[in-house]
């Protein structure tokens, strides 16, 4: 496992793609977050709703580059045929897959932390004093939102890795992941029946997982912050399981 992990880490470290994608994640997240906060109308009471959530809006965009990065770690290997070398070097496919997942987790956690902290910092610079108070990292809910956002991005990475492994193509993998993330909430919004809409919102990986960013009235109509992230974790686990099993069962 250690050598496999080392190999995967070297691949991620030395290829130009992941580095640019990680940088892209940070820039995109911070940029969209800053745009959102700079357009908010703030009064002494607050900034119209959940300031922390507003300051972390960019995650909607950042998760797309994370999805590419993750899908590419395996989809790229299928594209170039490198997967054969990988599996020849580490014949235990489960181990090779796990090593990929662990290396990816590390990289995404690193980039995600920079993106989330950068967004909050940008929010504090942009917003007037009332926004500053809401975005103090000393406040428990804000710290939880930042930490949760990093975990959320890691889970999206793992979800994307699992799906890309299952379909053996990074473009299709990214399409499916972004479908799950972006389209499920839009589809659920068209369901008129409140009960079903709630159910869909609670089951969708993005709307459930991002409830970890709620700092005002956590809970509400959504699941609690951690339970919501748990739903995303469930999706990621299912995708990893499906990808792992298919990788073992299939002829590369």
């Amino acid at each position: 496992m250690r050598t496999a992990l080392h190999a995967e880490w070297t691949k991620l470290r030395t290829a130009a793609g992941p580095r640019w994608l990680l940088l892209g994640t940070i820039v995109a997240t911070v940029a969209l977050s800053t745009a959102a906060t700079s357009m908010a109308t703030c009064t002494a009471g607050g900034c119209g709703g959940d300031t922390t959530r507003l300051a972390l809006t960019g995650v909607c965009l950042g998760q797309a580059t994370i999805a590419i990065l993750a899908a590419q770690t395996i989809g790229g290997e299928y594209g170039t045929g490198m997967i054969r070398s990988t599996l020849a070097a580490v014949p235990r496919r489960g181990t090779a897959f796990a090593a990929k997942a662990v290396a990816l987790t590390g990289v995404v956690a690193l980039g995600g932390t920079a993106a989330a902290l950068g967004s909050v910092l940008a929010g504090r610079l942009v917003l007037p004093e009332s926004g500053d108070r809401a975005l103090s990292l000393a406040g428990g809910p804000t710290l939880r939102a930042v930490l949760g956002t990093v975990l959320y991005l890691v889970l999206i990475g793992l979800l994307s890795l699992g799906i890309a492994t299952a379909v053996r193509d990074s473009a299709t993998g990214v399409g499916l992941v972004l479908g799950l993330l972006y389209v499920l909430p839009i589809l659920s919004a068209t369901v008129g029946d409140l009960h079903w809409r709630r159910l869909l919102e609670r089951a969708a990986p993005m709307s459930a997982g991002l409830s970890v960013q709620d700092t005002t009235d956590p809970g509400g109509p959504s699941l609690g912050p951690w339970a919501g992230l748990g739903v995303t974790a469930g999706w990621a686990a299912a995708a990893l399981l499906a990808g792992g099993l298919l990788l073992r069962a299939r002829d590369v």
Binding site: G49, C60, G173, I186, L187, T190, G192
Partner: protein
Amino acid sequence: MTPAVTPYPPGRGAGFLRVLHAEWTKIRTVRGWVTGLLAAAPMMVLAALLAGVGGNQEGAPPVPAGPHGGPVTDSFYFVHRPMAGDGSITVAVSALTSSIPKGPGDLGPGTVPWAKAGLVIKAGTRQGSPYAAIMVTGGHGVRMQDGFVNDTAGPPGPVSAESPRWLRLDRSGETVTGYASTDGTHWTEVGTARVSGLGSTAQAGLFVASPPAVRGGGTAGSVSTATFEDLHTREGRTGGHWTGTQVGARSPSFAGYPENTSGSFTASGSRITVTGAGDLAPAVRDSLPTGGHLRDLLAGTFAALIAVTVVGARFITEEYRDTTIHLTLAASPRRSRVLVAKAAVLWAVAFAAGLVGTLLAIPLGERLARGNGVYLFPVSSATELRVAVGTAALLATASVLALALGAILRHGAVAVAAVLVATVLPCLLTALPFTPAGLSKAVATVTPGAAFAVQQTLVPYHQVASNYTPYYGYYPLAPWAGFAVLSGYALASLAVAAVLLGRRDV
């Protein structure tokens, strides 16, 4: 497997046709691509099914419709008595104040620009019945309105005890004329309305309406009180036998009174004080929250968009991946032609699949929704056709954008993500309740997601204050202007791709 490659002979048109045919054969014979493109249609239908069966409004009170056929809000406090045949009614308005709840049960003064107090002649107290009215408003001066959608501006300025406004309505057959005055003797005509269906005996009198105030991304119910003086009809000064009625008390387009308030009128001497809420106006998405509209039935567009985007990007990146691009370009050395042929074939197939999807999804969704008692905002067949064709064109153009980005980046995953982020994410951002309205309008104007304006069917009204944002189905750009934004991105990307394809060493 080494196929012999013969470059196409030079001749202009025939050469392009052969490239076109080659690309058509490619797209037709790769099973995954065909499935992906054709999947667009069932995705649209499935989403329409979901939206159609998802809502249930059976047993809800019917949505009132005005003489123009559209949904209306016809809920207000009416102090009236019968007016047989032709007649005239005059009053002075000396105060109009509005209140908005600051919290539960805590009413505070506020400004409601379209709060209305004045005179109305109406066929009856049934919702949706024809009328003509003249009124003072909270922030838009004197207005003459009829048929729910017609609005004419009169003298501007607010009313107060020092500067009251006299209002007069004259009925002569089907013609109602409204006048305004600052002193009760010198009158200026504000407007004339032809109102058919007033009947031989109409109801005439005072009314007060107070639409919900727009606040943040939502609305808050309001209530307004007006003071009237010097009410008289052509037969002379009257008193006593006026009836107070809350028109349309239970209606899907009326949110009701704020807590602990209700409509009422009191008369003391020549002074009458009337309190009311509601509106006499066309219903918009905000004021008719249970109403569905065409866009809801087409949510499958987003799922279909993903399918056509993935195929569009792979249509070229796959060639880079397994190096068939070498063969393709050897067979047709004029490289930009290959790109144009690919784009044309892709656009046509995606458009056809999308059109089948929309043409099936729209009637199916409408039928299911209506069967469940859901009221749908009415749409003309021309608009319906525009939405169907526009949505198919949106899908096709987005897949060409993915093709062009795929050719530029030579990387399928990045191209797919770029297109989806540029088209779907804007819609998602505008749908989040905490997204500032400015950001929401900006992304719906400059990103390729602006093309979703082709699905706009709702009409904004200047005389109804509401949240006219993409979230509610009101786009900042006109339908085809929004589509042009996406087309611009697609064409520009194709041009860049053509240049790069020509310059690069494959």
